[in-house]
Symmetry: C2
Subunit: 286 residues, 2 copies
Amino acid sequence: MSPSDPPFDDIAIVGLGLIGGSIALAVRERWPSVRVLGIDRQAVLAHALGGGAIDRGAEGVGAIGREQLVVLAAPVRQNVALLAELAPRLAAGTVVTDVGSTKRDIVASIPEGMAAAFVGGHPIGGAERGGFGFARPDLFRGRPWIFTPGPEAPRAALDRLFAFVTGLGSRPSLMDPAQHDRVMAALSHAPQLAATALMAVTGAAAGSAFLPLAGRGLVDTTRLASSPPDTWRDVCAVNADAIGDALDALIACLSELRAGLSDGETITRVFEEAAHWRAELMKGRE
Amino acid sequence: MSPSDPPFDDIAIVGLGLIGGSIALAVRERWPSVRVLGIDRQAVLAHALGGGAIDRGAEGVGAIGREQLVVLAAPVRQNVALLAELAPRLAAGTVVTDVGSTKRDIVASIPEGMAAAFVGGHPIGGAERGGFGFARPDLFRGRPWIFTPGPEAPRAALDRLFAFVTGLGSRPSLMDPAQHDRVMAALSHAPQLAATALMAVTGAAAGSAFLPLAGRGLVDTTRLASSPPDTWRDVCAVNADAIGDALDALIACLSELRAGLSDGETITRVFEEAAHWRAELMKGRE
């Protein structure tokens, strides 16, 4: 295989939302010869077919045949159910991955005796809104893509997945599923809930009359607040223990600030800690 | 006065940080003939003089003489002290305003018998970082500028301030000081503390090793987390009651989400509320 050969000639993508749709568009751009089957509702398929993102569409996974790669890109609990449904039907040599933002659940659910190879994955992309309408081929460019292979995952499958996501512009790395879920609870899941809670209470307090007086700060801090509930309902349920710990830490810090509003030392200390970590976060970005 | 005449021929700006510095730059751009005196530390004055933002600089308010407008742009508790210090020395006809993000405190502190006219003000600008280095002449363009005149404020002073900030590109409006502080606690002060707390706990949990795995969501949600502690220490102390109420609501919502992580109904309801208010917030922006 030369570096420009596609690691997979046929792929099926189950769920053409922001992530699945962006994978389809990125594959098109990188390897125009690769055949892409998309699985989703009819309205989404029409949109994806119309834009040339996929070659064929179907409403159910029954349409999946001898594709070399199957990407599960539905909400995380659906991915687990889809993996169980597909397992008996996939041939040896098929590679299956998912793009969910929790990994313990699906890695623990790999069906016994499945001939296909499963490697859990998580691209760190993200955009303001979900859905195929916001998909774009450069969503993964320069961004991490974490894989969480179990001990049973064949090395060849992992190598092909690394080549695949590298071709889409992403930077693949490896992580243990439990560590992944804990780190993502802190880096992604709790921040999502913080932005959601902040927008819900600020909107209720200020109302439509005063929201126009908000500065750019509130606009940026609540950018995540239009994220789709279905995706997050699943993530919250599946990663509840780790997210709970992250939320407890956030609530404790907010309570400390609340108790210390008139106490300059508390405010100064937490602002200095935040500025330190913000500078760390921004290293190597912009 | 024709619409292009400056409403003030001489102005003094006390504090050349992000807001004070941006006022100086915006005045320069709009009315090059207006003389601007800047009051700040020597290093800041050198920067501002070098860039042509001010005509003259001084380290203390003793340099203020017969300027027609005095803008107090220090941290909010310093503005209160500065107003008391300046009051006996300013002539009738002088207009004094401030740009602090709390208004009850300074409006309640207007010295008895002051000959000059004071009108509290609050430009809603905001940028990622404070300090003269981040000042820019377009900071106020298209953004609100709230004035909170007491009953004693002369109409003529308010008219001149409206003309002044309109000239800088801003959209002036009026508000009661107590309502201003309550609305800003919700729209600005609590979101600042939420972003600060989130960055402090997320950084501590993830550490430098894992922060590079954060997506754009965390980057946007914590943009405010490099705000300067001195500004916010004052705002928190002065507006503690209203900020406390706003933080209580946020902590209550986060606690509800935390208790309901595995309960799809709670997650869905709060995400739907947040998406509704986010859409309201974004009306007329971008």
